[in-house]
């Protein structure tokens, strides 16, 4: 039987959700206008005032926000509440070194955790469950979000954070975890380790909530079979709160967007024009309940499709497809956002030219990141030791910038394939 955390919202009629959205949007635009000079200026430039926004139908009149805006306004430029009202930040890597910092009031955290609780409940979670959260805790939203949601549902929560597979498996067996929350690639890795160690009969998992990176239907079936569970997708981004912006139900045909908190639009990434329902385009979110960091019309750069087709789970919330790609060059590697521009900045800083190639692959269900860098005459040394040192220093600088390990390979000049004179920067070999 399908379970709901907040059925009055999740199964509400389209009309009542729309009415809620209209009311909240009008209020939110006023809140932003009054408290965020950065966005107010954008509105003024477009000749829009809060009076022009009377309902969701007027949403298209508002200017967009992009990752560039977040960088420009870093750190406080988009903050809409006094710092004394904020209780938390979460963060993610941004372009060229500037991080994205999102602020939360206690109320914001409450609503975010509600969203995660809906996801856990949709996956079958109740207060009888043991929920093992192996997303990273800390600045990354994965751990804190699911942790909060798990508390709300009343699950016994295991705040494992990421890594340390031996310990993960020990707790999974000893404490009989029933719900697993982590990235799909880590779930696949855990599944493999469970089989290798012959623990399959000793685990009691029934469901998994896997997000923060792309995964295929094939990978889902594989994990489900190996662990004997039902695997659910979850979507979110730090800019809007974190995981739980959208979540999958038992039908597993897309993720329901929490429309009482976020209004979703699909736009043409080139023209910015709003596309009709069912079109493939870039996903744009407007936060209508967030107090501290209320982004209006934030361009996610994720390409997907929205559908309002009736869902067998009983929820009426609009569904988004799995992201089918990006309208920028961002890569997600091991759940971490990686921009080629970040890698370029490190190379230039270390005296290389911007001739590089990023190769992403998935080996044994784990993402790998290789960076090929062309050697320059200025950097070349006759000593192997010195070149090895340079390579190490590049690896360290990339780790500091990206937060993940990248294998660096120095190559001869002009060996990186160029198409029409421009180096082919990214090769993504992952089959997802």
């Amino acid at each position: 039987m399908e379970r709901y955390y907040q059925p009055e919202i999740e199964c509400a009629s389209r009309e009542s959700i729309l009415a809620l959205q209209n009311e909240r949007l009008v209020k939110q635009v006023r809140h932003v206008w009054d408290n965020v000079p950065y966005y107010r200026k954008k509105m003024e430039e477009k000749g829009v005032t809060p009076d022009d926004i009377q309902s969701v139908a007027d949403l298209h009149k508002l200017p967009f926000l992009s990752k560039d805006d977040l960088r420009e306004a870093y750190p406080y430029g988009l903050l809409a509440k006094p710092l004394k009202d904020c209780v938390r930040i979460q963060s993610t890597s941004g372009t060229t070194g500037k991080r994205v910092v999102a602020f939360y009031t206690q109320h914001d955290i409450d609503l975010w955790e509600d969203c995660c609780a809906r996801a856990i409940t949709a996956a079958g979670g109740t207060d009888e469950d043991v929920c093992q959260v192996c997303y990273g805790y800390g600045l990354f939203t994965g751990g804190p979000g699911l942790n909060g949601g798990s508390h709300k549902v009343g699950c016994l929560t295991l705040p494992m954070s990421s890594g340390n597979t031996d310990r993960q498996l020990q707790f999974m067996v000893d404490l009989q975890s029933t719900i697993l929350c982590c990235t799909p690639s880590y779930a696949a890795y855990l599944a493999e380790s469970i089989h290798e160690r012959g623990l399959r009969d000793q685990i009691k998992l029934k469901a998994g909530i896997f997000g923060a990176e792309a995964w295929s239907e094939e990978m889902r079936r594989d994990i489900e079979k190996q662990l004997g569970i039902k695997a659910f997708d979850i979507y979110g981004l730090t800019e809007t709160s974190g995981p739980g912006v959208a979540f999958e139900c038992s039908e597993q045909t897309g993720m329901h967007i929490n429309e009482d908190h976020f209004i979703a639009e699909i736009i043409d990434p080139n023209t910015g024009e709003v596309l009709p329902e069912g079109s493939k385009g870039e996903l744009v979110f407007t936060s209508i309940t967030k107090e501290a960091f209320p982004l209006l019309r934030y361009r996610t750069r994720d390409i997907c499709v929205l559908t309002r087709e009736k869902c067998s789970c009983g929820r009426t919330l609009v569904k988004m497809s799995k992201p089918m790609g990006r309208s920028d060059d961002m890569l997600i590697v091991k759940g971490v956002n990686v921009f080629p521009s970040q890698i370029e900045a490190v190379l230039i800083e270390q005296g290389y030219q911007a001739n590089y190639q990023i190769i992403v692959d998935r080996i044994n269900n784990s993402d790998t990141l290789d960076v090929l860098v062309e050697m320059t005459p200025e950097n070349f040394s006759d000593s192997l030791g010195k070149i090895t040192e340079m390579e190490k220093s590049l690896v360290a600088a990339l780790k500091a910038m990206l937060g993940i390990y990248a294998r660096v390979k120095l190559v001869a000049p002009k060996t990186i394939a160029r198409s029409e004179g421009k180096a082919v920067r990214i090769i993504d070999k992952r089959k997802i």
Binding site: M375, T376, P377, F380, S381, D382, S383, L384, I387, T388, K409, L410, V411, A412, P413, K414, T415
Partner: protein, 143 residues
Amino acid sequence: MSIHQISVFLENRVGQLAQITQILAEHHIDLRALSIAETTDYGILRVIVDDTVKATDILLEQGFILSKTPVLVISVPDAPGGLAQVLALLAEGQLDIEYMYSLFTNQNGNAYMVFRVSDEAKFTALLQSHNIPIATSEELGIH
């Protein structure tokens, strides 16, 4: 009395070395010595040729990354113990060898060893005080 070695950056890729030797052959450049230092991903080719300037120009023209490094070439008797004597001197003088390799040439019962050491001046002095000859470019037909 240094002789210049050409060091070329090599990617560990099939055919890279063949390409370089082919280029040198086409320009009638004779190799006097060759050595390769490598890691799993890349290497450094070190060569001594009969025409250093010409070889350098050609390789640069072909887009290779290289540097010219002064090295010492020492003639040692091509007989048991010939090299041991020189290495004993280096140890005695507390000098580090960055790398060494041998020339293809063998003249008058002597073999030639290429040395790159931590302190070239000190090494030269040690060799001179022990009457160990340092090879000249004329002797090796290098110009």
